[in-house]
């Protein structure tokens, strides 16, 4: 069951209705049952039991981290405690390594052996990737690390802990929650007032905004982007550049859309999840971009990899090494492919080069009397950052090195703006009316982003603060646009969210 399915539209109001009707002390059990049902209900044409298998792995990982955390807490000897912590982390990582990277490693070993004309070890075994595994494994690692460092108390109630790991709004695509946030809220469920009209309204508005981002913008842009990527041989500069820009918007609306639905759904039930996005394309530098993009992953990588490696409080060389390791791992987390690793590496390099060139930039600014406080300067930085991230997204989108090379080849050849005419677009399966429609939606999205940037709140909170007629009107329009212009139903096969596969 995905957030953009009819099943979820039926599932959510029913489970929320019952959730508010049952006694306070049963609520967390109800949420755990519904969360597990949510996970088990996933299926694909290739594997009808994907959800059930994923649920099994979720329970296994939950049990491992639950037991290791309690065991650590009981251990007085710091050396033994450290060993238990290491064992817990290694168990989790081995699971992730097996399910996500085994085939990737095998393929690379085979290629390496091939260079020396040695026999291949084994063919890839196409291991099923359990849903949400990258997210909840990172969450369990973070939890064990927090318990190890005494930043968090281990949870004794297994069901409460299982809800912390498997809570359905954030199960398949995050946010990657910390025990200091979500676990705390689950523990306090019986004391907290969960029914809050304002929060429910805010959550519903945020969910509608998320669905609009995903179903209306991301999936409509994806039609063009996929058409260009599927016809790279025929593409030229205009198609590839426009597809790269649209993919930037597409992946943002896809992932941010999911996050908004997740945060909104949790808010309806009285939970506050980590806000995963904060207008990332208004970032003025790559470092700033990573403070705004997939915030729960960025902060996780910062707290559990970058800082333990030494962070920035060390020599420049070590600092750059730490940045590169963190971003290469970030790339690898996104997928078992060298193109993802390259994508992460490029983001690392951007930051290293940016840091190295900082004195040069400052000199230029001084020499040419650049007004760094002016809007135009900030706007220029925003444009450059957007350009750099868009360039990096190409590595993220292409499926192989061959396609990457071809993509760059086509970016600098066959300049023909007339492909954007009606007949040219027709060839790509898009018509001018669709383009006009997407332009209108992008304008709405842009206004939403500006509102978020200026007001520093998400769309749900922003709308809740408005007059009832404006809020009601916007919500009505959003629902209508989703129902009419959303990409869903029988002729639509891109039902999955892009970030679900990570």
């Amino acid at each position: 069951m995905t957030f953009n399915s009819i099943d979820f539209l039926l599932f959510f109001p029913i489970i929320v209705g019952i959730y508010f009707l049952i006694p306070q002390k049963l609520k967390y059990i109800w949420l755990l049952v519904t969360s597990y049902y949510f996970v088990a209900s996933f299926s694909t044409q290739e594997d009808k039991y994907l959800g059930v298998k994923s649920l099994f792995m979720l329970i296994v990982c939950t049990m491992i981290s639950y037991i290791f955390a309690l065991w650590m807490k009981k251990q007085e000897d710091p050396r033994k405690k450290k060993n238990i912590f290491r064992a817990g982390i290694i168990s989790d990582l081995l699971i992730l390594l097996f399910f996500k990277y085994f085939d990737f490693i095998l393929l690379n070993v085979n290629s390496f052996l091939g260079i020396f004309r040695m026999k291949e070890l084994h063919n890839p075994i196409n291991i099923l990737l359990p849903l949400g595994i990258s997210y909840y494994i990172f969450q369990t690692i973070g939890y064990m690390a927090d318990v190890y460092k005494d930043k968090a108390e281990p949870e004794k109630n297994l069901l409460r802990y299982a809800l912390f790991i498997g809570f359905f709004p954030k199960f398949s695509q995050g946010p990657i929650e910390r025990s200091t946030n979500l676990m705390k809220q689950i523990r306090e469920m019986e004391e907290r007032r969960l029914w809050d009209y304002e929060k429910i309204v805010s959550g519903v508005c945020l969910m509608a905004w998320g669905m609009f981002q995903k179903m209306v913008i991301a999936d409509r842009c994806a039609v063009y982007v996929d058409a260009v990527h599927n016809n790279l041989f025929s593409a030229g500069t205009v198609e590839t550049v426009s597809a790269a820009i649209l993919f930037s918007i597409c992946i943002y609306c896809d992932f941010a859309g999911y996050s908004s639905i997740a945060v909104g759904a949790a808010r309806v039930m009285g939970f506050s999840l980590t806000d995963n996005f904060d207008t990332p394309y208004f970032a003025t530098s790559i470092a700033d971009f990573w403070h705004r993009w997939h915030i729960s992953l960025s902060t996780w990588l910062r707290d559990y990899i970058y800082i333990p490696l030494g962070g920035s409080r060390c020599s420049k060389i070590k600092k750059y090494r730490n940045i590169m390791i963190t971003f290469l791992l970030s790339g690898l987390w996104h997928g078992a492919s060298w193109t993802y690793v390259l994508w992460g590496g490029i983001h690392g390099l951007y930051q290293v080069i940016g840091d190295l060139l900082k004195p040069v930039r400052e000199k230029i600014n001084t020499r040419f009397h650049v007004k760094t406080e002016a809007f135009s300067y900030t706007f220029g930085k925003i444009l450059i950052t957007f350009g750099l991230t868009t360039f990096a997204w190409i590595f993220f989108k292409v499926e192989s090195f061959e396609n990457l090379v071809l993509y760059f080849n086509r970016m600098f050849t066959r300049f023909n703006p007339w492909v954007l005419s009606a007949s040219g677009l027709d060839y790509l399966g898009v018509n001018l009316k669709d383009v006009a429609l997407v332009a209108v939606f992008l304008l709405i999205f842009f206004v939403g982003e500006i509102a978020r940037y200026v007001c520093k709140t998400d769309m749900g909170t922003f709308l809740t603060a408005q007059n009832i007629w404006f809020r009601g009107g916007v919500l009505l329009l959003l629902i209508l646009m989703i129902l009419v212009f959303g990409e869903y139903g029988i002729n639509f096969d891109s039902k999955q969210f892009l970030y679900m596969k990570y």
Binding site: D7, L476, L480, L483, G489
Partner: protein, 479 residues
């Protein structure tokens, strides 16, 4: 408590407005055709008074193109109805009949055997035509469960996941009712001509009747006994393949076994006088001429085997009158589409008094017109009653120059040669308006219906014919 009531009231109002908006939008986007071009036999069924259909024909496009209830009404006053949907499959045939039997008690039901020849639809639109046209009920849900793959059934039940994709094709008749979908009797009237493919119906061999086909025929047979109507199996003319004919022959044997009459029009197509060159609109669908021959055969069959009442003149059956009127208007439209001399053309429109006619006459527009051309124009103006029978072209010009209209209020001149005068504007249909303005030379001239300009600057006489019944411009003539 007061706060809770206020908040509850707000939520209630919002949900009410949302519900109304979604309901109205759903109505606009809803699937509306079973035949093409907004024509829906299912909607026609829902608009038909209870217990008025004596004869029902079930089938696909071969049925609604091959059998015209209008002919049966014209000739014998038989209240027949084509409960036909494009590419009607077996499950749809059965459940459409069940839907019709909710309000009708037909004496005879003819079922086209085309359903024997395929298991799944090849055209996606036909799936929607068959699955989404009925009102939501236990019957329509059963149909979806029977035909649609389990993983797609929810989309069909909810309908929105399918119909929302229509947003680019929404047109005028999504906002207002397409009237032929109320009074039409299921047929799709067509006058085009195309050489037909006669198919391969000669074989007398029969295959074993497929189990799915046997089940379908048995189901229909049992329904006929349960609801007490006479069942007749028939095959409307189409280009049948030999293996399909062998299955049809097997069905004929089954029918014989159960004493169900069986008429195979593919086998008797030349016996009833069907002409492959003249009687088909494409390779496998009858046109009005072909349908007349098929329907006459059925008329005679009904006359010989049943005593059906003549309902002509009964107000309860007004829709059959309307349908016949619609047939006549479409026939007239088809006649206009052919080559017509000016005399024939003006003669026809002069006689057909329920048409709106706009005429622009500017004698200065074509200074090089020959005497013959001028005489032709003069004759046309006379036929229309714009100029008197006496006088030659030059004498008649001052009287006729300007813009004329003939509508419910009769024939009158509505615009003289005065560029500063206000244009004549009038509503001529539910959504159509006409705007007329005349000047010579024609810088300030208009002869517009909605946003289309019909006036030509190089001809003396322009005639636009609008049919308020069909709600469309039938034709234009420039002389």
């Amino acid at each position: 408590m007061k706060q809770i009531i206020i908040k509850g009231f707000r939520v209630g109002i919002f949900l009410l407005i949302l519900g109304v908006v979604i309901w109205r939008t759903g109505k606009i986007l809803d699937w509306k055709d079973t035949t093409g071009n907004y024509l829906s036999s299912t909607q026609q069924l829902y608009h038909t008074p209870e217990n008025t259909m004596d004869v029902i024909f079930l089938g696909s496009s071969h049925c609604y193109c091959g059998i015209y209830p209008a002919y049966l009404w014209r000739d014998r006053g038989i209240s027949a109805f084509d409960m036909a949907v494009s590419g009607q499959d077996r499950a749809s045939t059965y459940h459409t009949l069940v839907e019709a039997l909710k309000t009708q008690k037909p004496k005879v039901v003819f079922v086209d055997m085309y359903g024997l020849t395929f298991d799944r639809h090849e055209i996606e639109g036909n799936v929607y035509r068959n699955m989404l046209s009925m009102k939501v009920s236990e019957n329509s849900i059963e149909l979806i469960k029977e035909y649609v793959e389990p993983e797609k059934q929810n989309d069909f039940f909810a309908r929105w996941p399918i119909i929302h994709t229509r947003f680019w094709e929404v047109g005028k008749y999504d906002y207002i009712q397409y009237l032929p979908s109320e009074y039409g009797r299921g047929a799709a009237y067509q006058w085009g001509t195309h050489t037909a493919d006669p198919g391969d119906a000669e074989t007398e061999e029969a295959d074993t009747l497929k189990e799915t086909n046997r089940q379908w025929l048995t189901r229909l047979y049992e329904l006929s006994r349960e609801k007490d109507f006479k069942l007749v199996f028939f095959v409307a003319p189409f280009n049948i393949k030999e293996e399909e004919q062998r299955q049809v022959n097997a069905a004929a044997e089954y029918a014989k076994e159960k004493e169900i009459p069986f008429i195979d029009f593919n086998k008797i197509r030349y016996q009833i006088g069907l002409n492959d060159e003249l009687d088909f609109v494409d390779e496998f669908h009858c046109n009005a001429l072909g349908a007349e021959k098929v329907t006459e055969y059925i008329r005679d069959y009904l006359e010989q085997n049943f005593s059906l009442e003549d309902h002509r003149g009964d107000v309860k059956y007004a829709q059959w009158d309307m349908d016949y009127k619609w047939f006549q208007h479409l026939k007239l439209k088809a006649e206009f589409e052919g080559d017509n001399s000016a005399e024939e053309f003006t003669g026809k429109i002069a006689r057909q008094e329920d048409l709106v006619i706009a005429v622009s006459f500017d004698p200065a527009a074509d200074s090089e017109a020959s005497e013959d051309e001028k005489n032709e124009i003069l004759a046309s103006l006379r036929t229309l009653g714009i100029v008197s029978e006496q006088g030659d072209f030059a004498e008649s010009c001052p009287q006729a120059e300007g813009l004329w209209i003939r509508d419910n209020s009769g024939l009158r001149k509505v615009s003289e040669n005065d560029p500063s005068a206000k244009p004549f504007c009038a509503d001529i249909g539910r959504t159509d308006a006409i705007r007329l303005r005349y000047s010579s030379p024609r810088e300030a001239s208009d002869m517009m219906i909605n946003y289309t300009q019909y006036l030509r600057t190089d001809t003396m006489l322009t005639i636009v014919v609008y049919d308020p019944f069909l709600e469309e411009v039938l034709c234009t003539k420039n002389l």
